[in-house]
């Protein structure tokens, strides 16, 4: 539960967040999402590895807090790798056997036919590494974008790129209250915990979780009503207006150009 609070509570001004942090959010969204899409299109391993490398380079030399991306850069690809391993086996991907893992004995298991041996196949190995590498590339790029852009700037940037104002406002407001709701949930939960003695059965625990959620919903509704009143009180009539964007600097332009060039290069590599 601490995750939401940790990720969202970032009081650093934009100027103190390294050069990547200072790039306009629109430029970052545009540039990094372009590379991300390219990463879902290429078919060979080299451009995918280059994507991962680029994300790491941006994370290391972009002046962003490396601790915030380390988890995404290491843990998530590891998870995907674990998921990709079975894809290298002959039961998933047919191919010439490279390594024989064990004797399965053939026959049938329910509707599936069981092969004689469990093997790692050449095609399977390739499919699995491409799958893992692609996931790693995408996750790394997305987490660099998230770590290098404060939520409020990210939402402003999306607005600047033409995402409807109402949608952006809902997303921004949701993020703003997320931390409050999480703390509220913890409070409710602690209050319940402090009233319990000894062990708790699964049923009791389920009922608690549900009561906490129900209570949280009640509070969310009250808060939503108050927010609506506060908005109306300051002149809101149903149209969402937001501040326009600042100007693009040459750096923002250069960043987007760099991303486009890099992406095009990846496509050329295949």
């Amino acid at each position: 539960m601490g995750i939401a609070a940790a990720l969202l509570d970032d009081g650093l001004p934009a100027g103190r967040r390294g050069w990547l942090g200072r790039i306009d959010a629109r430029a970052k969204v545009l540039g990094l999402l372009f590379i991300l899409v390219i990463a879902t299109l290429v078919t060979t391993l080299v451009p995918l590895a280059l994507c991962v490398g680029a994300a790491w380079a941006l994370a290391l030399f972009g002046g962003i807090d490396i601790r915030r991306v380390a988890l995404a850069l290491l843990a998530v690809p590891a998870f995907t790798l674990a998921l990709a391993v079975p894809a290298s086996f002959n039961v998933v991907t047919e191919g010439a056997p490279l390594v024989v893992l064990c004797h399965l004995g053939g026959g049938h298991w329910g509707p599936w036919r069981v092969p004689e041996f469990l093997t790692v196949t050449d095609r399977g190995l390739f499919v699995a590494s491409r799958f893992a590498l692609r996931s790693a590339a995408c996750v790394s790029l997305a987490s660099v974008l998230a770590a290098a852009t404060r939520p409020q700037d990210l939402f402003k940037g999306l607005r600047g790129l033409g995402v409807p104002a109402a949608f952006v406002m809902v997303a921004a407001m949701m993020t703003r209250y997320l931390d409050l709701l999480v703390r509220c949930a913890e409070e409710i939960h602690l209050a319940k915990l402090s009233r319990s003695l000894g062990g708790v059965s699964v049923r009791r625990e389920q009922a608690w979780a549900a009561a906490s959620m129900g209570e949280l919903y009640r509070r969310s509704r009250t808060l939503a009503d108050s927010v609506a009143e506060a908005m109306v009180s300051r002149g809101y009539t149903g149209e969402v207006h937001t501040l326009r964007q600042g100007r693009w600097s040459w750096r923002d332009g250069a960043f987007v150009a760099g991303c486009l060039a890099f992406g095009a290069g990846l496509l050329a590599l295949g």
Partner: protein, 349 residues
């Protein structure tokens, strides 16, 4: 259930965005006209609530824990169209700020968790709950079943999206480009996990939260946002029947369009020969498995039918779709009968 980036090919994720675009437009129109000045904060807090529900670890017997998605709960509390918006926003923030669920897969995730899940769940809930008062037992049993059905529908759709990847997108050597697991693995894996574990968690959460609210603040269950079918308006089951009939009839389109375009195969369940012929590729281990499938209706069609022409296949699709729908409808009807019987008993005694 959150599909990450890199699992789906562009054919799938672009299609999902294409489906979502009009749905988002219609949902925001509905929300704007019904909620007016309250729409932004209600949707924002609804999304934040969904997010927090997804973070709650709920224990299940056997020592494991799981978390709910909460989309059916939100649909029951705020109405299904509002749930489309709130869950979509929650998924957008998860994808953009927390790396949970992909950015390119955002449309697909929304289709599963912000459309299929709240609507199937909410329909189930409304059908079983009927016009029972907010404080009745029937409400929360309906909610639990709604959660179970909704989550499994969403999981089925996600499994389907995974499973068609090897058939849909592969390189010249026939090697899968994205998710390498075909339907024969994706469907059972997701089905077992969700029918046995996550579906139960979803049912427990949806049912218990509705039970809690119906005791402590029933007015929140009777809100104008989730309208009960208006008297005089078309009854819900008729709407539902129309929707399902349209879906069943439209299904063959999914067969015909890719066949006509010569592109990949939208329904990776065809027999191996047909697929090889169509796309020049035998999906990983699929040919063997398809031939060995002993279920009464392999590939939703009796043996031999897969060799038949497209119109015949379409016919089989409609039939098997209709049978599936009838089976679900029968279950819902039995649940309704059983519950309303209990209800009247309770009142009589």
């Amino acid at each position: 259930m959150h599909i990450p980036d890199g699992y789906l090919g562009p054919q799938t994720y672009v299609t999902a965005f294409g489906v979502m675009a009009p749905v988002w437009a219609w949902a925001s129109h509905k929300v704007r006209t019904t909620l007016r000045l309250r729409q932004v904060p209600l949707m924002a807090l609804g999304a934040a609530f969904t997010f927090v529900v997804m973070m709650f670890n709920v224990p299940v017997p056997g020592g494991t824990t799981g978390h709910a998605v909460g989309a059916v709960l939100v649909a029951i509390l705020l109405g299904p169209w509002a749930a489309v918006v709130a869950v979509s926003v929650a998924l957008a923030v998860q994808a953009l700020l927390f790396g949970d669920g992909g950015i390119t897969a955002f449309g697909a995730n929304c289709l599963n968790m912000a459309v299929i899940m709240p609507f199937t769940g909410w329909w189930t809930y409304r059908l079983i709950a009927g016009r029972s008062p907010a404080a009745s037992k029937r409400r929360w049993v309906a909610a639990a079943l709604g959660g179970y059905v909704g989550l499994n529908a969403a999981a089925l759709s996600a499994a389907f999206m995974f499973g068609i990847q090897p058939a849909l997108a592969h390189d010249a050597a026939g090697r899968a480009l994205y998710c390498p697991f075909g339907l024969h693995i994706a469907l059972p894996a997701m089905a077992i996990e969700h029918l046995l574990l996550f579906g139960v968690v979803e049912a427990v959460v949806t049912g218990l939260v509705v039970a809690y609210l119906s005791k402590s603040e029933p007015s929140l269950l009777e809100c104008a946002l989730a309208p009960s079918p208006a008297p005089g308006g078309r009854p819900l089951w008729k709407k539902l029947a129309l929707g399902v009939a349209a879906l069943v009839l439209l299904t063959p389109l999914g067969l015909m369009i890719p066949a006509k375009l010569g592109a990949g195969d939208a329904w990776g369940e065809w027999g191996g020969d047909r697929l090889t012929e169509l796309a020049g590729y035998l999906p990983a281990g699929f040919g063997k498995v398809a031939a060995l499938w002993h279920a009464p209706m392999p590939d939703y069609a009796p043996r031999g039918a897969e060799e038949a022409a497209l119109p015949v296949l379409s016919g089989w699709y409609i039939l098997s779709g209709a049978l599936g729908v009838l089976a679900v409808a029968g279950l819902v009807w039995i649940a309704r009968r059983w519950l309303s019987g209990k209800e009247t008993d309770g009142i009589a005694s």
